[in-house]
Amino acid sequence: MGCLTIILVTALLGLYMAWNIGANDVANSMGCAVGSKSISIKWAVIAAGICEFAGSVLVGAHVTDTVRKGIVDPTMIASLPGLGPGEAPALLLIGMAASLLAAAVWLNVATWMGMPVSTSHSIVGAVAGYGIIAAGWNAVHWGRMGQIVASWFLSPLAGGVLGFLLFMMISRLILRRRRPVPAAVSITPFVVFFMMVVVTLAIVYKGLKHLTGERAEWITGNGAFLVAAVVGLLSALVARLLIRRALRGKENLPLPQQLELVERVFAPLVVVTSCAVAFSHGANDVANAVGPLAAIVDIASTCTVKMRVYVPVWVLVLGGCGIVAGLATFGYRVMRTVGTKITQMTPSRGVAAAIAATITVLVCTRMKLPVSTTHTLVGAVLGIGLARGLAAVNRQVTRNIFGSWFITVPAAAILAMVFFLLGKVLLLEYVRQTLCQALPGAA
């Protein structure tokens, strides 16, 4: 009974974090499609909901593991000297709950102060903070932590470089031609091929692997590239047929009309790639909400501290539901403001930005690094700006991003420390007893 209460309380906290992600961040991932008017707000919300949910349930476990055990080594806490029976799991549980609470509180404080924050940075800072207080400086995997922080620098940078290159290619090969329409007919299928390979790899290679386990090795192993290539090829052929039909006889229109037609060809592509961004966003960011929850559920049900934990699917589903709920309640409104503010984002720019962000976030997800999808997207947009693709980009935003790192990580860490100490003083005995009662053998 007591265990259930603990799980329920932390699940509510996790749900709240997931709700926050859905309410604030998801609008960014669909921003390219909404801003370029390639999709209506209503459909953007529905598509984002489906893709975020799929991403978090199918791929979310990777980064969840990092948040759960990658930053603070659970065995370090278990091997602390002078712990009574059942105290180690109790400490770990309180620590994870404190991290979750700290991240959620900081998110609210920051939003109230009008600061842009990333849930990824909050949770990483919070977990590291509790680890330092609970088991000393050495309990934190500083090597891993270094990798994570490096990925925060590198992901916007990589997004920027990819965005720059992709947009340069699109503009060199299509937009800057004397007659963009025939150029679009011959080049766009290649863009579609590349895009679909990336998207398919994202879903098959990472997603199905988690779902099917060993059963479908041929499709999730090296076969993934083959599958992706086939899907890419088929989509490219279909795209070629459709584009040719749509653009037939339009080769000699005046340039502005040709450009508009070409942008219209890109519109469906930007929808597909934005869905991929939403998918990878769900995959990466759901961990921020359910990583600590996964740890708590495991401790509460086994009363032991382990390194290998199977992340229960229901935990990921809960995270996914939270994101969808946030999207349905507040995300709609945020999506609309984003859509009206970024009208400069034409479909050709949107495709470049979304593909760049998808690739970057997926690589980071695969390396189990919790990065900010929004920051990666910001990097990609700045890259397109450097390629002279956008009319006015606010460079101050980069300063905000740096600011958000430098403030969020310590702030969330300090909050987690405070909550952890409070929890230790007030709840340690209760939690220990509850755990031991539930599983007398472990005590």
Partner: protein, 224 residues
Amino acid sequence: MSLIKELFGQSPFGPLVEHTKKVHECVKLVEPLSQALMKGDDEEIHRLQDRVSKLEYEADVIKHEIREQLPRRYFLPVGRDELENFLRCQDKIADSVQDFAVVLFIRKTRVHPELKDLFLEFVEQVLKVSNTLNEAAVELQNLAETAFGGAEAASVLDQISGLGEQEWNADRMQRRLSRKIYSLEHELDPVTILFYDKMLHTLSRVANEAENTGDLLRAMILKG
């Protein structure tokens, strides 16, 4: 608070094209103004002067709007200085047209019959220069769409490259007209000569500023 939302400013290129069009509307009135001057139709001059003044004011409003929406923190695909100078220079074209209209409006000056042909020829050349600029400058929106490169940029640069020679021709015609005016100095009263001089001066400024605006447009395209 959404970073993505804050990332984007308003595009200045749409309003810049608006400004170009407004200035050109102003310039187009030079022709009817000159015709009215030839005919000595003072009422028509009065009416056109009002119209020019209104258009010039509207161009000014657009200019200020563009400046206000472009704080320093925005990163642009063209040099900021070039863009601001382009806007200022293009605005001066409308100013010069207004000055010309005012010169016609404040004094009922009549054009000597022997000057009429040369005068109209000069006006035509001035309009040619500003037309060339107008055709190039209205492409700014398309230039932004094509990221200031490729075929579109090349064709605009090509258009601009004609400006120098056209302006030089306008200068030559102005000199010819001036010589003609002073050859008639014994038949004309000094104040009329003064006003002829003012007309020539303001008209040549229209061509001059158009050429300068074209130079800045080129600088915008070439420099990222």
